[in-house]
């Protein structure tokens, strides 16, 4: 490891070298840049081609934006850019919102199970980075087999009256982690349906 002084001297040396290289590149550029009519013609043609390509790209891009905008909330920002969830069974839970998170607390209260989830992803982007509390009526912890720190995916419907998330049927709407969810995870519900979490690497 270099001392502070050596480190600083190294910076100055590198900076000098960098400037010298830039200067040299500039000289080469000037030399090359002696304009000739032929060169101008070439540049003009190249410019027109480039403009054409850019115009094409802009048109395609605009079209793509329009297409994306026409899909209502189909690809919401779910927190991580390279993340998406795919449902294993087509046509299932289409009206429900998938929420992925880890259980911070789970306990029984008045014949129901209360689950507190720290939301890491959700299809509607709501509550990401926050806690949500779900009530699962008429069941017990023993039956649900849930515990703190478990990764969980829930297919939630939204209560039209207060806008809160709710679990309609825990057997089909609660999916538990099956493997390492930090890389690629499978989540399975009690009724045997499987959904997959896919994280695309950068």
């Amino acid at each position: 490891m270099k001392s502070d002084q050596e480190f600083i001297e190294g910076i100055y040396k590198k900076a000098e070298l960098y400037r010298a290289m830039e200067e040299q590149e500039g000289q080469v550029w000037n030399k090359r840049n002696r304009n000739t009519a032929q060169r101008r013609r070439y540049l003009k043609t190249a410019g027109l081609v480039a403009a054409g390509v850019m115009l094409g790209a802009v048109l395609v891009y605009t079209k793509e934006i329009r297409l994306n905008q026409s899909i209502p909330e189909a690809t919401p920002d779910v927190g991580l850019v390279n993340y998406r969830m795919e449902r294993g069974i087509e046509g299932q839970n289409q009206e429900k919102i998938l929420v992925l998170g880890s259980i911070t607390e789970v306990y029984e209260k008045d014949g129901a199970v209360i689950i507190e989830i720290f939301v890491e992803k959700s299809e509607d982007s709501k509550a990401v980075g926050e806690k949500i509390i779900l009530t699962v009526p008429s069941t017990s912890l023993e039956e649900l087999k849930l515990s703190k720190d478990q990764e969980i995916v829930t297919a939630l419907s939204i209560d039209p009256e207060n806008g809160n998330y709710e679990v309609e049927n825990w057997k089909s709407d609660i999916y538990l982690s099956n493997g390492d969810t930090s890389e690629k995870g499978l989540y399975e519900s009690w009724s045997g349906e499987i959904i997959e979490e896919i994280i695309e690497k950068n």
Partner: protein, 189 residues
Amino acid sequence: MFLIIENNVNLDWEAYQRFLNGDQKAFEELVIKYKDGLILFINRYVNNMHTAEDFAQDAFVEILIHRERYQPSVSFKTYLYTIGRNKAVDYIRKNSRVVYIEDYPDSEQEEYSLEEKVLKEEDKRMLYEEIKRLKKEYQIAIMLIDLEGMSYREAAGILKKSENQVKILIYRARKSLEKALRKGEKSKT
């Protein structure tokens, strides 16, 4: 805590203004203040202290040459770490076939002595050892937010992620660290 950070930002900006006015010593003050932390930060990406030191130097070279580019809308530290990160990420992309199995022994030793310098308290140092065993992105998140004391916003700027993404990343990282620490405690007893 907030006031201390704010003061630090102001002091850095004052030093940077002196540097802009031609005071080379002011630049060197900033180099000495941030170089060790920056090397450790880059090392989390490249896993080699010599390479990390080289990139840290390059980051300062960039600041020296393009001094007018820095705007105080972000702290100098955030700006510097962003340049450092970009250099490390470029290097990893270009050398994606290189797989580091272990650091060279001298590199490890150097890292340890630099840790001693940067992380003065024993507890922090022990924690750092545990952090090094986590996934790379977790290491970096914890390093920036918990060890360097950066805000979610600052870390998000450096890591090119949204604040929400950083929140989730640090949540998962801390959880992972907690698990590792618990496991370590169990194996001791």
